[in-house]
Symmetry: C2
Subunit: 359 residues, 2 copies
DNA sequence: ATGAAAGCGCTAACAT
DNA sequence: ATGTTAGCGCTTTCAT
């Protein structure tokens, strides 16, 4: 259950006491200057205060432990220092890396990032978007492709448009998301198709001829692109896609899909391509659970190169995606007026989960 | 470089245009009621507005797409709906799980969580804490044990005291952190020592007699407790600690420490206990890199049971820590006036990285 | 029950 | 260069 407004009891100081925080007013008075002067030395950027005053105010502020009230500054200035990040699941390493990149950028600029989690649920996403608007963030980064797919995979344009209208910038991962008024949000695109194609090609070169693909719902761009690209490359390399199983981007989905495939029978020497490492990891566990071996028996490759992929044994063949950098770029796309995306180089990383093969 | 205040250019609407967001005033005017009335139906909790008005205001607000400006509400009310979470590294699964738990709780109460990353750097932490105070958050959750250790491992009490003084609640993972005025912050404690002791006992029962421990800096409570507990259990089980290597909680530290140990020579049949799974994963990679085998040759166990631990091969023996739940409890500790910690059950999970042994 | 008006803490003209 | 003052959008007495 999501409350529309913060619960009352949660209010601090409900116990009565709490002396309020030191205000700018306190500092000004203690330093014997006007509010304006105090504001200028403490928060205003233009330097036009006599050094004597400047120092005094600074000293008093330090002594009193003054910290500007961000909310008050935001209402007065008309804009807030927050960047809102929307992810499907922060515990998922994919989003974790992206979040780290966004946070890195935000820190450089003294901006605050708020993270919200959609759990890949459409309604939840809408509610969050609505609540987020209340923060009047400088920007909104959408890294939360949902489990469902289809044409309306992105949030209602009207909701995003509301952001754009008051000046907040919307940046989305993947899709070019429409903004209502014919505009589109800036987007961080990864060459999913290209990277997957390279991977497919390499797998073909390694001698694989049959592949089982585990993807997300049809209509989810990232999944579609990776599947299409892989198929193109693999086919060109002489292989053929045996079947495509569908789930979502979760580990469990990978395990379930793989289990289903195994139940139907999977020949030794078959390759499995999962649209993400997390899904591949799930598939691997299913393969093991079925008493089969990963590698020479059933080969597996994924996409993303999350840290865990290097730790599994056999290590997972995948496509390295600079996720942290992607997050950083998303941040830049939000704050920089003029911005053009730097290409994010994807790189195929062949490891032991896809040993050379020649059957 | 961390800017003290948000960069100017980052300001949205710098391009001039952006019509401002719909304000309560707009709604009131359009509905033909006073600001007060509009406020009461839209945001105030007490219901004392005639149904006719109530409906009308509601309708108009919907039509206009009104969303209350959180900053303005915060300045007016004197408290904000944010819970600040401080983690060392959001891409680390340990913190990722905790963050997910905190976010889950926050969502239930319609609260916003802001996440800041210390990168385990003391100065960075201080700067962040200072900036965070500006948000006047309802609460602050510290889940960022630093790399350095020693007595002053927690942030300066004065900084935390400043939070507590104005009513914000401080909740810390692990240590009982002092709050200056003799008080201590609420803390979420895990029975690290107990869990580690159980693990040590089990390892002893499995037949291990020699263990190399890889920990963080001496003085870091979590690390110390786990080491002490493990030592106690393992000793009681008949084993002995051969040596203790020190690093921090990062994967690389585990790899480096393990590499150093291997360079000195590690007998087959030796057990390695790392204070966290992430560190253990690093150790495993070093073991492999040295051409040794994990399991019968060199056994490894960790702590936390992060998802990746189940995926490595051999799967990692560890102590399961309900991290998500811990995060949720931390949230509760922040918002609930009366609060007592529910015990967080730790559970030893023996997997293939520590096969039965009898040398 | 409703509205007028005084703040909340801060910023930014506008004077001086 | 400094101070005055009118807001920012909202909440909340206090009248009516």
């Amino acid at each position: 259950m999501t409350a529309e407004s913060p619960s009352r009891e949660a209010r601090p100081g409900a116990d009565g006491s709490s002396p309020h925080a030191v205000t700018l007013h306190d500092v000004a008075r203690a330093a014997g200057v006007s509010l304006a002067t105090a504001s200028r030395v403490l928060n205003g950027s233009e330097r036009k205060v006599a050094d004597a005053f400047r120092e005094r105010v600074q000293r008093v502020a330090d002594e009193l432990g003054y910290t500007p009230n961000v909310s008050a500054q935001a209402t007065a200035r008309g804009f807030s220092p927050v960047i809102a990040l929307l992810v499907a699941d922060i515990a998922d390493p994919y989003f974790g890396q992206i979040a780290a990149g966004v946070a890195r950028g935000a820190d450089e600029r003294g901006l605050v990032v708020t993270i919200s989690i959609t759990e890949r649920d459409r309604d939840r996403e809408s509610r969050i978007l609505r609540a987020l608007r209340g923060q009047r963030p400088q920007g909104l980064i959408l890294a939360a492709s949902r489990a469902d797919g289809h044409d309306d995979a992105t949030p209602a344009p009207s909701e995003l448009e509301a952001f754009a209208r008051y000046g907040g910038r919307v940046v989305a991962f993947g899709d070019r998301v429409p903004l209502g008024s014919g505009q589109t949000a800036r987007s961080i695109s990864l060459d999913n198709a290209g990277g997957a194609e390279q991977l497919g090609l390499r797998m073909g070169a390694l001698g694989y001829r049959r592949v089982i693909v585990i993807g997300s719902t049809e209509g989810v761009r990232t999944s579609d692109d990776r599947i299409d690209g892989f198929t193109r490359g693999f086919t060109r390399g002489g292989g053929a896609v045996e079947r495509i199983l569908r789930g979502d981007f979760r580990r469990e989905a990978g395990a379930a899909a793989m289990a289903a495939a195994l139940a139907d029978g999977v020949d030794a020497g078959t390759l499995v391509f999962a649209v993400s490492d997390v899904v591949a990891l799930g598939a691997i566990s299913a393969i093991r659970a079925a008493g089969r071996e990963v590698g020479a028996d059933i080969a597996v490759c994924g996409f993303d190169d999350v840290p865990a992929s290097g730790d599994v044994t056999p290590a997972l063949t995948t496509v390295r995606v600079p996720l942290n950098e992607a997050g950083y770029q998303a941040f830049r796309a939000v704050v920089d007026e003029d911005w053009t995306q730097d290409p994010l180089p994807l790189e195929v990383v062949v490891r032991d989960s896809t040993p050379g093969h020649s059957a």
